[in-house]
């Protein structure tokens, strides 16, 4: 199984992305914010991260920065945001994202990005 971690505080969005990814055979885990995501990362080796920007406690940028600062194998990360601004995209890549998708993410987009990035190191 190829485990993916979805990090988003919106239950509906987590279920939406989970539905798409599980249909492709991926093993999906969830976290509701960056803090919970970091805790899960310590105990499980994920092969891809799907990270929302706006979350309470620790947002997507903060989570990726903390994750990349750890000296362990680094899976690829897709940042997902409601904003398409170039500055937000630059900020995401600077924090450690490998790709940037704008909500609502279309199923073919998500499937393609997961296929291309799964198992790739950052």
């Amino acid at each position: 199984m190829r485990p993916i971690l979805i990090v988003d505080d919106a239950a509906t969005v987590r279920l939406y992305h989970r539905t798409i990814l599980e249909a492709e055979g991926y093993e999906v885990h969830e976290a509701v914010n960056g803090i919970e995501a970091l805790e899960k990362c310590l105990s499980e080796p994920f092969e891809l991260y799907l990270v929302d920007v706006n979350m309470p406690k620790l947002d997507g940028y903060g989570f990726l920065r903390e994750l990349r600062a750890q000296d362990v194998h680094q899976a690829a990360a897709i940042m997902i945001s409601t904003e398409a601004r170039m500055n937000d995209q630059r900020r995401a890549y600077a924090a450690g994202a490998n790709a940037y998708l704008v909500k609502p993410v279309r199923p073919p987009q998500l499937r393609l990005h997961a296929h291309l990035l799964i198992g790739r190191a950052h």
Binding site: D9, T12, L15, T19, A23, N54, T82, P107
Partner: protein, 119 residues
């Protein structure tokens, strides 16, 4: 009704209730930045969720409310009762709209097809 739609409606109900409560709290404490941030986050998330489905009116109202709150957060507009009254009316209409849609709403057609659920 699909599991995704049920999840959306359940979450939307909670968000709409929370938004109404926050608007009332803000009436009594209009300068409270934490309250405004919490309110903004709920509206923002509900807007994002509605974008997964074919609820353009709902998304438009939420987008307008979000823009207004952003201007209040940035100090461009002062929060006052008239604003709350207008927003309160909008959230009431939004809640009525959501209840009316329970019986026949569907996800966006292309998403529905891709997800293998009825469109």
């Amino acid at each position: 009704m699909t599991a995704l739609l049920e999840q959306f409606l359940s979450e939307a109900r909670d968000f709409l209730q929370g938004i109404g409560e926050k608007l009332l709290e803000l009436e009594a404490d209009p300068g409270n930045a934490e309250l405004m941030t919490a309110l903004f986050r709920m509206v923002h998330t509900l807007k994002g969720n509605s974008g997964l489905f074919d609820f353009p009116e709902m998304t438009r109202v939420l987008h307008a409310g979000e823009d207004l709150m952003d201007r209040v957060r940035n100090g461009q507009v002062q929060y006052e009762k008239a604003l709350a009254g207008r927003d309160g009316f909008r959230w009431h209409a939004l809640r009525r709209n959501r209840n009316q849609r329970r019986g026949w709403c569907r996800p966006r057609r292309r998403f529905a097809t891709a997800l293998g659920v009825p469109a």
